[in-house]
C-alpha cells in the first residue's frame, strides 16, 4: 500500500493540471473562435427568427409577446396609439423618430426581436420605422404586417391611453377593451384596402411617410 500512497499525490497533481490546462485551452479557444458557444445561455425560443430581420408572422409575434422576448413599436400616430395599441408597445411614429428614439433605445436592448407594426396590408409606416431602426444600429428589427388588425382579430392583449399608463392596466380591464378594439381593428383593416380613400378622408395622416 505504501507505494500507492507515495504516487497518489503525483496522480492528483497531474490530474488537476490536465483538468486545469484543458479548461483554460477550451474556454480560451471558445472565446476566440467565431463559432464559439455562449457559455451562459437562456433556453432558446421555439420561434426561429431570420438573422437579417424582415417580416414576422402573427403567430411568431404572439409567441414572443407571451414569453416577453419581444418589444413592440407602434408606428402609427400618437392619437391612434392612445386609442388602442398592443399591450406594452411603445409609440414611435417614423416622423418623430429622431426626437423619441434616444429615449426609447434602452428599452429595445436585450430583446430577441424588435417588432414594428402599424395597421393595414399596405401601411408603410412600420416598414419606414424598421428602416430607421436599422439605420440607427438596431439589427433584430421585424415588421408585423397589418399588425394592429391581426392582433385584434386574434383578441390578443391590447391597452389604451398614452404609453406609461399601459403597465397599470389590469388583465380584466383589457378583456373588456378587447371587443371594441377588435371591431375597430376590423374596420380599419377594411379601410386599409383603399389607402387612397383614406388619405383623402384625412384619417390616415401618416400614410404618406
Amino acid at each position: 500500500m505504501r507505494p500507492v500512497l507515495r504516487i497518489l499525490p503525483r496522480i492528483l497533481v497531474q490530474s488537476f493540471s490536465i483538468l486545469a490546462l484543458s479548461a483554460v485551452l477550451a474556454f480560451g479557444v471558445n472565446a476566440l473562435r467565431p463559432d464559439g458557444l455562449p457559455l451562459v445561455q437562456a433556453a432558446p425560443s421555439a420561434v426561429q427568427l431570420p438573422q437579417n430581420g424582415g417580416e414576422i408572422g402573427i403567430k411568431d409575434a404572439a409567441l414572443l409577446f407571451v414569453s416577453g422576448r419581444a418589444v413592440f413599436l407602434d408606428a402609427r400616430s400618437q392619437y391612434e396609439f392612445e386609442q388602442g395599441h398592443i399591450q406594452g408597445a411603445l409609440s414611435l411614429p417614423p416622423r418623430d423618430f429622431a426626437a423619441r428614439f434616444p429615449g426609447l433605445k434602452p428599452r429595445l436592448t436585450g430583446k430577441e426581436a424588435v417588432i414594428a407594426y402599424c395597421d393595414g396590408e399596405l401601411c408603410q409606416l412600420s416598414i419606414a420605422l424598421a428602416e430607421q431602426l436599422r439605420a440607427a444600429g438596431i439589427t433584430n428589427v421585424f415588421v408585423l404586417k397589418n399588425g394592429w388588425t391581426l392582433w385584434n382579430a386574434e383578441k390578443l392583449p391590447v391597452a389604451k391611453g398614452p404609453a406609461g399608463q399601459t403597465s397599470q392596466t389590469s388583465q380584466t380591464s383589457q378583456m373588456s377593451q378587447m371587443s371594441p378594439a377588435g371591431q375597430k381593428g376590423k374596420s380599419s383593416g377594411l379601410k386599409a384596402l383603399k389607402p387612397d380613400l383614406l388619405k383623402q378622408d384625412g384619417l390616415c395622416t401618416d400614410c404618406a411617410n
Binding site: 507505494p3 492528483l12 477550451a26 445561455q41
Partner: protein, 153 residues
C-alpha cells in the same frame, strides 16, 4: 519483467490515446452539435451544458496528448479511466431512464435513423462499446500505476 511491462504500457497508452484523440476531433470541430448531444442526456442543468460541451473535447485531447507523450502520464491514465467510466455509467443510466441518447462518443452528428431504430439496440451497442473501452483504460491505468509504483520503491 519490467521490459515486458514497459512494452505493454506503451501499447496500451497509444491505443487509449488514439481512441481519445479520435473521439475529441469531431467534437472540437462542431461544438454546437455536441452541445445538443450533451443536452440530450438530460443530466446537466441548462446552465452547464455549453460549458461542458466546450470543455470535454479539450479534456479528451489533452488526455490523449499526455498519454502519447508520457507527460503527466499517471494522472492522464487515471483520469481517462474515470472519464470513460463516467460516460459508461451515464449511458447505462440513460438506458434505464428510457432516453435514447445520441452517444456523442466519437461523432457530433446524430446516429443515422436507419432500420436499426426498431429497438434499444443502439444504446446497448454504445454501452457495450464503452465497456470495452473502460476495460482498456482500466488495464492501461493499472499497468501504468504498477510501473510508477516500482519506480517509487
Amino acid at each position: 519483467m519490467p521490459a515486458r511491462l514497459g512494452a505493454a504500457d506503451l501499447v496500451l497508452r497509444l491505443v487509449l490515446a488514439g481512441v481519445l484523440l479520435y473521439a475529441s476531433a469531431d467534437k472540437l470541430l462542431h461544438p454546437q452539435a455536441f452541445a445538443g448531444i450533451v443536452k440530450g442526456y438530460h443530466v446537466l442543468p441548462e446552465l452547464l451544458v455549453n460549458a461542458v460541451a466546450v470543455w470535454l473535447p479539450w479534456l479528451e485531447l489533452a488526455l490523449g496528448l499526455c498519454l502519447v507523450t508520457g507527460l503527466w502520464c499517471e494522472g492522464a491514465a487515471v483520469l481517462s479511466a474515470g472519464l470513460i467510466g463516467t460516460f459508461w455509467i451515464l449511458l447505462i443510466v440513460s438506458y434505464f431512464r428510457g432516453i435514447d441518447v445520441d452517444c456523442g462518443c466519437f461523432s457530433s452528428t446524430p446516429a443515422a435513423p436507419g432500420p436499426t431504430e426498431t429497438g434499444p439496440a443502439p444504446m446497448l451497442w454504445f454501452i457495450g462499446r464503452d465497456a470495452v473501452l473502460l476495460g482498456l483504460a482500466l488495464v492501461a491505468a493499472r499497468v501504468r500505476l504498477g510501473l510508477a509504483k516500482e519506480g517509487a520503491q
